[in-house]
Amino acid sequence: MSDHTEQIKTAENGFEPKILVFACNWCTYAGADLAGLSRLEYPPNVRVLRVPCSCRVNPQFVIRAFQRGIDGVLVAGCHPGDCHYTTGNYYTRRRFLLTKRLLDFVGIDSERFHVRWISGAEGPKFQEVVTDITAAIKAIGPNQKLCDYFPTETLLPNEGGDNQ
């Protein structure tokens, strides 16, 4: 079946990056909803993955996303001090200050990975951050790094090893 979401990855007819956003449920996800309520348009390149808190995002998820060929990743949560779980994003900040530098060190282009604090009231900021990141990644083309491997049998929802 022709997969409707097929992206023909050639720069000529306009490469459209696919960007994964890890959004914390209490702030950034609410901010994204607010952007929707206020009808603030932004390019349809981002896909939001909701997590309870930005401290739930394991740097290994980010490496996994690049491994599977994503073009850009954004981890976004509440501003330090406003975390619904009081101290969650302080750990996020420490972990991703290091992860960002490690990804740089390994050669992932710095435009492809971002971490931002976006509160539940900052709908316009969500729009602005997403638009800027999409433009920056669109300029540097699809991600070729870390992702030259596609498992034939993935651990997807079919019979893969899902443990209850």
């Binding site: 079946m1 996800y29 909803d33 394991n58 740097p59 998820f61 060929g69 994503i70």
Partner: protein, 665 residues
Amino acid sequence: MKRVGVFICHCGTNIAASVDCAQVAENLKGYPNVVFSTDYKYMCSEPGQEMIKETIKREKLDRVVVASCSPRMHEPTFRRCIADAGLNPYLLEMANIREQCSWVHPHDMERATAKATDLVKMAVAKVSHDAPLAKSFSPVTKRALVVGGGIAGIQTAIDIANNGYQVDILEKQPSIGGKMAQIDKTFPTLDCSACILTPKMVEASSHPNINLITYAELEKVEGYVGNFDVTIRRKARSVDLNKCTGCGTCWGKCPTKVDSEFELGMTKRKAIFTPFPQAIPNKPVIDREHCLKFKTGKCGLCQKICPTGAIDYTQEDELVTTRYGAIVMATGYELFDHSVYGEYGYGKYPDVITGLHFERLINASGPTMGKIKRPSDHTEPKNVVFIKCVGSRDETKGKAYCSRTCCMYTAKQATLVREKIKDSNVYVFYMDVRTPGKGYEEFYNRTTETYGAHYIRGRVSKITQDGDKLRVRGEDTLLGRPVEIEADMVVLATAMVANADAAKIAQLVGFSYDKDDFYTESHPKLAPVETHTAGVFLAGACQGPKDIPDSVAQAGAAAVKVCALLSKDMLETEPITSEVDTKTCAGCGHCVDVCPYHAISLTTIEERLLGQTITRSVANVNTSLCQGCGACTVTCRSSSINLRHFTNEQILAEVDALCQTIQNK
């Protein structure tokens, strides 16, 4: 094989206008684990939910994905819907194809549909790993704690107590009463503040369900809604409350005089003192900083002359831990420190005073027995100038917000000056006059028309001391010319700001506060007295500047929220908590320290190894404390601790599902 049902909602035209819902449903047919995929105009409507329930039964679905609006809105609705059809409510995932898709990509049907399809695929990948979960229950302690003994705190406590629940009022000062006790008359009815406050204070002190804890501070707060373990530091009063009758011989004879904080330093109080005559409890406290006995070891006069032997210098601070079901923050406000304003003399001119200062002057039990006198030479002022918005609505040196109450109390004070001092002249410099309450506008009109206060629309640019007079120079924007007044006294309506320790207390109890340190309500319109932290409520000016009527109204609201909570015996707690796989946990304990709720502890388990029984330590999660943030899951390098409903496998599946759609790189 999982049997996932996918339901794409049109939401009328909200989604269908820019996402081809039928096409999305079509795209999901044949997708791994999807056995049923359809779209419908209003999934959340009665017929919509009915259709889901029938499909679950007919197709024997074991998991459901609804692609519609934000889960923050309708996740509970659809959880209840599938529960009605016999499915565990947690075998549901939602794809947000409205707020985060159709509404923000209105002009690109093709790519919005492609995005919607991706989002639904991610949801299917996640739901395939969902496990059935059951809500757990934790007991509710039927006792509330009200932090702050001002009018808001007192009213909240009375309303809770009248519902039959035990309430403790925790007050930092030696007596309850708060700022309202310092005020003379209250707008708009001009009835005297003490007359309406003291009865409430007495009611609070004599109410069987209310327990006053004064001269005490919050030390530590642990636990969660229904079970807050609060440690209070009862500072040593050096007076035994049971023995003391409040007869006053001690503070009558005490030799040491200290500036009275209650009277803003305008009169003295003794080292052993009650803040004001109508104080409740009307029992003194020894100010150990100034008391000679504590400073030099001499004196000890009060102990000698106390008829009931209530004085006890050896008293120590006492830490008391009690369990509460709910906490109401009613810690009130402070006044903005106007000494940052060079224009008004940096706070050095003695006759430039604040509104609260003025309240003490006109108060019958105040330092001047109600006579308005100039602090510099104690003469009666003729020309009195009021300046509004000092620190409010001023982003450069003060606060950006409007403090709501200054217009009304300045009008009241202007009226009182005109009333108390014959042929006095009153000038009020203002930007706007805001009278938003019942009877407020009429009160303001009476101030200008009946009492003849001169309202000058303009800012004061400078006050200079000119001999014993104050030269107030400003501008009258309506006349378009500068104005200069020789004033005897200037009263500044300074902004209401959060207490200096407001942020510290918020962090102690564990709820958020805004950039001005006012406490953040859960929702400004729909949940003004709740906070994001379950079980913690707000009342009064600590949530933002407000006057007495609004504070009392909020107090009532907070009280009802508390009673709703305490009326339950058991509290349902969200089952999205962490769980430990003891097979792989090495007991390193690093997860214990990252948990904000101290929900994880190391316990020992027994195990057969190489023919012997050994004991080893592993992590253990207290599911009633765990709030499901997930910090521990990343700290654990062996992934031995996982978060139900947001497991590592689920998030990896979502990432893989999304990246699967760009496989043909």
